[in-house]
Amino acid sequence: MFVKDLTKDFYQVVAGKQCLILVNFDVDGICASKILQSLFKNDNVVYTLVPVQGVKDMKSAYDDNAEDIEYVVLVNCGGNVDLIEILQPEETVTFFILDSHRPYDLKNVYNEKQIKLLGDPTLEEAIPEYDVVFNDDSSDEEDEEEFSDNEEESAQNRRLRQHEARINKKIKRREWEEKREEALFHYEQLSYYAKSSAVIAYEMSWQMSRDNLDMVWWAIIGSTEQAILNKVESSTSVLESGNLQSHVSRLTHARGGNIDKQQLSAIKVTYDKDLRLALYRHWTVEDSLKHSLPTAVALRLWSIKGEHRMRELLAEMGLPLCQSKQKFTSMDLTLRNEFKDMIEKLSDKYKIRSIVSGDFTMQYGYRFKYCATDIVYAMLAILESTGRDRPPQLCFLEASDCLSRMKKEILEKGIEKAKIMLGYVFKAAQSLLELKQVTNAGNFLYVVISEGMLHHHLFAHPHMLLMLAQFILRAYAESTRSRKTATLPLVASATFSEEEGTCLIVGVPPVLEEQPRSFFGKAFSQAAENTNSFIDQDYFDVTMARLKSEDRPKFFDALSALLQ
């Protein structure tokens, strides 16, 4: 069931108790849990936090830690699966779900006792009515008994009536089932993301008058991740940042007094128009142009011609080559100050679309100044920097450290990692485009990252593969220049585990599609069913899944047939 009043029906229930927090491996989830943790710490709510990568992880984390626990908070996980079925919990356990994955599993929606979905049901999109989906009428047979009690009726009459009733019921039942199928199909067909969990958690803290600038900053980062990874429509992001901006200014003014004086030591969050160039304040202009989606796509930087175009742009801006290859921070001050305007002015000429958008910046003391996108990239890079002595959980905790103002070193390391990450995405996209690896299957595009490719193993990480897929789709659409390609979605695939012979697939919606809703979740499972191939939809984001590598060709065929 939905819980609308988070303060009363969630926070005050949990306060003073012990709870288990399970958090999905994504930036928004980390931000949301950070806000909860901060509240819990102030109220001395003893908690255990375990990061989970998928459904199986969630199950084992629950089993490991469930003893003595009555309250479980699930952040960005658990909402779109049948939780009770999977976890088989004791009846005394209550689950609070703060999940931005949609659609919710209907079993969760209509479980009145154990499942509490944190959010306002009126904001949800058409959820089928209870009666449409569930049939409580399990007493079919008993009904008939009732009839038999009627002694006065003749046996024949009775039989006739029973027969009639049964037929009627069957017809009704069939109608109901058809309607149910349709409703379910309609409801479950597309997967998408709803409002950032971090923002919801923040708004709860605000309702309790417990919010502060740190928390709103975390909410900003959560919502920025949704924007960067195209999880939500851009118009939604803009609205959300307006909302967050008002919170920022309220909190800034609430501190009141002499703002100028506070600026030196206090945290300051500002909202301003900024360039959508990844990490440019921490990088060189050239690298940043190359590795950012808007510029890389518009200038087609993966080709040699593109390289020339970039030189041309830089020359026209009056930015000497040697300066553009320097760290941005060591560029001449005047160039630095004019940089934004220069790019903006020339963006039309070079057809660089939407290069400017709003972004938040956090400043703390003199040396701590980062914008929200910087931090999202750093966190993504850390989150997926697993290795032999870096288990995923450790990466998760380190990514969460990026949110702490006290851990600048970790954030700095993350930013360095992010540069490398973006570099690999770019290089992979470049070589895939050069080698014409993008295949048009008629109604969708697909690309397979072969094991021969440099650093192919990095794309066994879902976010990395997702970013690559988005990059390639844009770049491909731009370079073919046909209207048709802009309407096609793309599926990217990379080896997940060589030993197990499995691969990771991710589907991204077409460039022209304004609403980032994806039918791939359903389509993947359908295609797998049709071809009898094994599919592991373990991720909470259903547009990602794992397949047996050997099944991949026939899977793509089936997918193609399905999308006719």
Binding site: T48, D68, Q393
Partner: protein, 191 residues
């Protein structure tokens, strides 16, 4: 030159703060050197006559060497003992196997006795005794955030319990985790 081996023991102490395996070989060599110095002195002491006092000088040199050897041996023992005592204060009455495997029997015996006398002392404080090795840091908050860096298992407190598995993150009562942090199971996280 005399006492070369003895200084090796002391130099070993200087290298690390750890309790390394007891260096029995060198320790025994030093004891043997002391023995032979002593025997030579007993032999030479008879050669001193009124006319020939020169052997006195030799005796003196050997005497100093014996004392120097003794000093090195005892210093070796003394510092190992102090380190062990430090471990007792920081890690509690059960020493981790990484340390205990490096001790010789009399050292283990010393540890046992020290534990006993410490416990005897602590029992005398107040009516029921007070473990004075518990509250090492001044308290700032009752609950602290910790990251589990080594599997520990179930931790019970106040009728609640929590599973401490590597790479999980918790908010727990400070008093429950302080010793686990010092033993390296948990890491105190400041945010």
């Amino acid at each position: 030159m005399f006492c070369r081996d003895a200084v090796k023991l002391v130099a070993e102490l200087n290298q690390t703060e750890d309790i390394k395996p007891f260096n029995e070989a060198v320790f025994r060599q030093v004891l043997e050197e002391v023995q032979s110095l002593f025997e030579e002195n007993s032999k030479d002491v008879n050669t001193i006559t009124e006319d020939n006092t020169a052997p006195k000088n030799t005796l003196l040199v050997r005497h100093y060497a014996m004392n120097r050897n003794k000093r090195c041996l005892l210093t070796y023992l003394f510092h190992r003992m102090r380190r062990l005592r430090q471990a007792r204060w920081e890690l509690g009455s059960i020493i981790p196997p990484e340390i205990s495997k490096n001790l010789i029997k009399p050292e283990a015996q010393w540890f046992h006795n020290y534990n006993k006398s410490l416990a005897t002392y602590m029992r005398t404080i107040g009516e029921d005794g007070l473990n004075i090795l518990n509250d090492i840091q001044p308290p700032k908050s009752l609950y602290i955030e910790v990251r589990c860096i080594q599997d520990y298992g179930r931790l019970e407190f106040d009728g609640q319990s929590v599973m401490l598995k590597k790479n999980t993150y918790h908010l727990l009562p400070r008093s429950e985790c302080e010793s686990l942090i010092r033993q390296g199971y948990l890491e105190h996280v400041s945010s």
